[in-house]
Amino acid sequence: MEILGYFSNALEPTNLLLALLGVAVGTLIGALPGLSATMSLAVLVPFTFTMDPASGLVMLGAIYTGALYGGAYAAILVNTPGTPSAIATTFDGFPMAKRGDGALAVTLATLVSVFGGLTGALMLLLLAPPLARVALQFGPAEYFWLAILGLTLIAALSVGNQLKGLVAALFGLMLSMVGVATVGGDLRLTFGTNALIGGINVVAGLIGIYCIPVLFDLVRTADPHLDPPQGSHVSGFRLREAFSILGRNKVNLVRSSVVGTLIGILPGAGGSIASLITYSAAQRASKDGDSFGKGNPAGIIATESANNATVGGGFVPTLVLGIPGTPPDAIILGALLVQGIKIGPTLFTEQAEITYTFIAGLILATLFMLPVGLLIGRYAYRSIASIPKAALVPSIAFLTVVGSYSIQNNWYDVVIMLVLGVIAWLIKEVGYPTSPIALGLVLGSIAEQGFVQTFLIGRAQGDIVGRFFQNPISMFLVAIIVMGLLGPPLRSLWKARRRRGGSAGDAGRSEAPR
């Protein structure tokens, strides 16, 4: 029952206030494309030097979780992910907003973010040491298969045009190779400019790929950005409706939260991969998988619960092993080290007070997302819908510039953002999907490093092929990949055969113009 005592620590007025403030600030930061949790945490670290360690941590954790949640706003309302982990939220979030269900989408995102965040935090509280051991079982081969599993999502993202989706993904993978190679140290595809030595920053690339085409489309047509139908239907929280949708998606919600936490504990994977993988799992499990990408609320439920679950998950290796799960975790870890706090298993025994107060604060901050989110969401949709284009276009443009600049305080990143954005727009114009590009950019380096590291270790031990498959986790991931790839065609083949007694007709499907 000691844990309860630490909860009462977290309930001290200053800690409560810091958690509330942190969530509100974090939500705003996340909602603006380009203002990242990493940046704001780095700025706030010096302030925590003078604070009580636990209070400082509570505030940093609250900002982090708020920012991951806030990313959903921009994704749903403007079709531009506020943070990389909200990429997959745009797939269904924006179509929902476009048809007038923006308020519902935001409410759903809020509810499932709280659920996912709580799942992650509770697993951190109760299972951290064993989960950390699971994270360590994930070696290069497993990371490679995880990235491949993420890439199989392309099939889902480009229904009817798989070849074009594949080409777009390959383009994204090539973008991920630009710069100094981690493995091998080569300078690849830099065209002789210093600007590209650091590679293409994933966040800058995502801002370009998602925001610039939106801007072009906004100025080209006279249609309003969002087109809410007139009437009372639009306004309000639509909480009852949201809960009934959640009721129908119980399995999806729990699966996405748990998978999100598990992916969160893998250092380097993070919220973007978690949300992409849970999205594809939700789509495959759904009876009407075809409606994903067209505004199916189940998509938002999967992505938003998963990305907030990664917060708690990410703290598992950070606190237990001293290995940060994500860049924000690295900053929080740095803050701990400057304060002279020793990381490792003792954090849960000798220094339990700090750790449990922090986890309790994280849980409180997650709960605070509910009122904060519903309050902001109440007005966000209607105000975005009512902003005239003449104001929306320059504002989004300004945010893309500020956002891509401030990631690394580098002007080149803005140029890269613009160039990639224009390329993405052109590719979209000629009928290729652009989300696979983002997918390739995010997953490319994980796939390549995993592959080459596995190869090198396998060669040193004289068993290259075995190295790729020897771990049970590898086998499990490979099985999911194979099922995902062969499942749908086999199922439709079987269905068609049963219905028509023979001639299967899914070949014609891929030819349909989209």
Binding site: M39, S40, V43, L163, K164, L166, V167, L170, F171, L173, M174, M177, A181, V183, G184, G185, D186, R188, L189, L215, F216, L218, V219, R220, T221, A222, D223, P388, K389, A390, A391, V393, P394, S395, A397, F398, V401, V402, Y405, S406, N409, W411, V414, V415, L418, V422, I427, E429, V430, G431, Y432, A447, E448, F451, V452, F455, L456, E511, P513, R514
Partner: protein
Amino acid sequence: MTSLLSNFVPPLCFIALSVFVWTDADRYTALGSVFPRTMAAAMAICSVLILIRSAAALRANGRTSSPTERSGGESLWRPLALLVIFGLWLFAMNTIGFIVSSALAFVALTLIAERETFAPKRLVLIVVVGLGGIVGVAALMSDVLMVPLPRGILF
């Protein structure tokens, strides 16, 4: 014509890209070239398949699929102007400074995006609020978040 363009030019561009990546990989170490080579080969194969499919469709019904069909209200010069303004903005940033260049770009983009009947009052409001926002964000960046914004001869 446009459908021909959108069906055949992109795969050709992708093939050219994959050839470039393949040949560039000659310079790399063995470790660094595995992945680029694999990607380049896959991209070339897929692009060729797309070309074949488009050609078959062209022969079968005399027309290719055109990816986008849009309603009226189209404007071609606006996207181009957007691009030009963006480009100028980025280059002006380092010479005349972040705030001034952003303010100019904001005004220009407001004018481009304006589609409804010209309403000076509303535009002035947008620009005033927008400029306030720019100065606010710039102040937030440089004074609170410690982001060194590009400085030029002005601001």
